[in-house]
């Protein structure tokens, strides 16, 4: 289906709002064209292209809300969508926590679209797979991977004057190389808005190198070790914490940020003072929409952790109203400050430690302490006197991101990292962390 430009999208949102008889009307149009190629066993396994476009209408009569979504865009269908939403709103019970829609916002556009990425076609995707497969075959390795590219737009509007339109492109690539006998495995991940900043062969070579170096891993006793965590190894762990910053949960006493006796821990020093984390929709490495789709609030550059202290909490419109605070837009990215050293330089400065390429199956064990469990995977190495001495068998860990960010020895140069299960685009540094808690061994390669 053809993607809409700003004028076409505006015309539709204006029509929808004009059809509405409700107290307020919110409109969203999302269109996407997504291509992908998946490969395994040194061959393509599946590849596809999906196109879709949807119009969502949310209306409110007083505190009753209803939503309808259609994928037809003629006048009759637009009116039908509005009537359906109104019907649902009349059926719904009142929500005492209803908060009226936001009024006109200033959305300062971010650089989220690149023609180079929008031009990706099936041949490009096949070449990406071919680059990885060819490099792996040359080293007698077996590769598996996934490349996907998106070309989409988003438009939001409401009856109080809100309007925003923006186009987006992005790509992501992950690749695993394994030895034919299954004794070694390496992995790499890349994501970018601009295809010109992506090199499949460069990425695949990292996975290949790790696979070759990870053969014949030795077992180390579980226990507390100094670890050098690559950004991909911390992204899901920190992502859990970034999703747990709500003021309401903290104020209600059901969050790691709840204060004993009541209240929250805003302003408290919870982490090492090297820790500085912020959200910034205009960051050139991880640009995101200048608005939050849920609330239509304009995003702002926001400090999350400043010199180790909790600098802000997330306030939903309802909780902000109830507590007399400013409502916050949901963040789209998270950026953590680092140093200037490369991963190799961090390793060179380590007397004894373990390098972790990737962590896997991260799950919350205890929301009270943010204790998380998971495993290392696809490249875990023992470091002695500044050099990687040998690969080690994978570990299970039980650790809290709060403890990790308290035990930082050194931070390296930040890198772009796309979360797998996390909703955030991230820029994270490699971290050297002491006393990381490995609790058992895994036989998995």
């Amino acid at each position: 289906m053809k993607q809409l430009n700003q004028e076409q999208a505006k015309r539709i949102t204006d029509r929808v709002i004009a059809f509405s008889k409700a107290d307020e009307c919110n409109v969203s149009i999302q269109g996407n064209r997504t291509g992908n190629i998946r490969f395994a066993r040194n061959g393509v396994s599946t590849a596809g292209l999906t196109e879709d476009m949807q119009l969502a209408v949310r209306v409110a009569f007083g505190k009753r809300v209803g939503t309808a979504v259609v994928n037809e865009f003629d006048d009759k269908s637009l009116e039908k969508a509005v009537r359906r939403a109104e019907e649902l709103a009349r059926l719904a019970p009142e929500n005492p926590e209803f908060v009226p829609s936001v009024s006109k916002q200033d959305y300062l556009a971010t650089q989220t679209f690149m023609a180079s990425t929008a031009a990706i076609d099936p041949d490009y995707r096949a070449e990406v797979a071919a680059a990885a497969i060819g490099a792996a075959r040359a080293r007698k390795l077996v590769t598996a991977g996934f490349f996907t590219d998106n070309n989409r737009f988003s438009c939001i509007a409401n009856s109080k004057g809100v309007f925003g339109f923006q186009e987006f492109t992005d790509l992501s690539f992950t690749c695993t190389a394994r030895t034919e006998d299954g004794r070694g495995s390496g992995w790499v991940t890349r994501s970018a808005v601009d295809a010109r900043r992506f090199n499949a062969r460069e990425a695949a070579d990292i996975a290949i190198d790790k696979a070759l170096r990870s053969m014949d891993a030795k077992a180390l006793e579980p226990g507390r070790y100094t670890v050098i965590l690559e950004p991909a190894a911390t992204s899901e762990i920190l992502g859990n914490m970034f999703s747990s910053l709500g003021a309401r949960a903290a104020d209600e006493g059901r969050s790691f940020l709840a204060k004993k006796g009541g209240g929250n821990r805003l302003g408290e020093k919870l982490f090492d003072e090297q820790v500085n984390i912020w959200a910034d929709p205009w960051n050139p490495d991880v640009p995101v929409a200048p608005w939050d789709d849920d609330t239509m609030l304009a995003r702002k550059r926001t400090d999350i952790v400043k010199n180790g202290r909790i600098a802000s909490l997330d306030y939903s419109p309802y909780w902000a109203q109830k507590t007399g605070k400013q409502a916050t837009a949901g963040h789209g990215n998270m950026i953590m400050a680092g140093g200037s050293k490369s991963l190799e330089e961090l390793i060179a400065g380590t007397k004894k430690g373990i390098v972790v390429t990737r962590t896997w199956y991260i799950r919350m064990v205890d929301p009270q302490s943010l204790l998380i469990t998971g495993l290392t995977r696809d490249g875990t190495f023992y470091v002695e006197n500044g050099k990687i001495k040998h690969p080690v068998k994978n570990f299970r860990f039980n650790e809290s991101p709060v403890t990790i960010l308290n035990n930082i020895d050194e931070l390296g140069k930040p890198e772009v990292i796309g979360g797998d299960e996390s909703p955030f685009q991230m820029v994270l540094p490699p971290m050297k962390v002491r006393d990381f808690n490995f609790t058992s061994l895994s036989d998995a390669v």
Partner: protein, 545 residues
Amino acid sequence: MERRQFLHIGAGTAGAMLIPVFGHAIAADELMKPLAASAKKVLADTALNAATQAGASYCDVRIGRYLNQFIITRDLNVENISNTESSGVGVRVIAGGAYGFASTNDMTPDGIANAARQAVAIAKANAKLQREPVRLAPLKGVGEVAWATPFKQDWRSIPVKQKADMLIAANKAGMDAGASFMTASLFQINQQKYFASTDGSYIDQDIHRLWAPINATAVDKASGKFRSRAGLSSPVSMGYEYFDAKAGDKVRAAGGVTTLYKNSYDIVEDARLAGMQARQKLSAKSVEPGKYDLVLSPEHLFLTIHENVGHPTELDRVLGYEANYAGTSFVGLDKWESKKFKYGSERVNFVADRTTPGSLGLIGYDDEGVRAKKWDIIRNGILVNYQATRDQAHIIGENESHGCSYADSWSTIQFQRMPNVSLEPGKARLTPDEMVKDVKKGIYILGRGSYSIDQQRYNSQFGGTLFYEIKNGKITGPLEDVAYQTNTQEFWNACSAICDERDWRMGGSFFDGKGQPSQVSAVSHGSSTTRFNGINVINTARKIG
């Protein structure tokens, strides 16, 4: 693995603009009107013809209409009610020996034909990288057939207010019993799936599923401590009659510590117990780490079965197709070929079954047009088979598929997903109470908690919802901060007793994730209460800052 983002949507205050994740909202009166099979056949033939004319040697078409309703409540408020619909067409082809796939929501003949041609073009672009052509197990077309989930009460016909009132009543019961906060949600799924292929099948299916997760949280502000207790029901593939709780479907847990449910669910009663037990957990004894005999209730054990039997016996993982994401498997083909790989103790028997009534994996035909069936995975503790699709059957020497192909949407490509994989009940008569009597130092675990397993399915860690200490054959009181760590083969070989069929019931996963791009699938796992001797238990209590 289970995907969290879907649960996140269900968890709370998500704005209505998130609804496109689930599809297109629809008016209630349109829910009950499916597109006629004859009209879908015309559309399907359009795709089949366009694909073969473009050079496809095989083509299948899936025309989908996915209707969902979800209701989210928190405490005494309804936060969100949404009816959603998603419709479109997915076309899979083989051309030049390679797969190609394209999908579109443009359901005009031109739109569908274009998708078919696009799929062929993609297949041809990939064929040059293909070393071996895709080989499908033979399948005779079944002509025009229909299948539907058996149910008594269609969830689509129940007034929204009645459902919302039930959830609010549950929340109120939980809060009255001690919870500081309650959530109760209702997910209702209807998949209208039409499958057609160049083999000559035209299969119309109507699939229904339900899930009503609840959660009680108790807070002690003075100490800053909080604890939660999730619901002990299971998602099911049946009608709204599931909520018509029958006394005969209630199961007394060992020692009478709580009530469990089979075939129907008393959500208000479970919420009341949840509120009370969440409050009790605030003062429960913290577990001493060490080796324990674990008595695991089916509402808990299903997730362990899912992670360390269901996933490792997926043939695509064994072969390496998931190596980049979900991982491979420790049960490689050599273990199956040996015919003596001891997956578990002799009493351990696992059956794959897409025909179990009420199970989430219950279907008539899979997404390759293969009829649902039942087969052995583990027999007397020995690995005897895997789960396979049409393009994998020849690898394990079989000439027909197991019917394990599934796609979560018209817009996604079908691939290998697990069927219901269940532990058969014990052959000797044994109740949970009798099982506990034989335990000197143990823990009784009920309900699902956190879960994690490595990429080859050796090392896993599981928590739970409720934990009770067992000392010298008696349940002595609640425990907290419990998780067990195991190696899969050691764990199933430590299986020392299984209660009989009177105790057999299913748990289920509504949003099991796998594949790239990741898709979700719903699947059930049945078992009776089962004991495992000498399992390593850790204490998960931590203090921060």
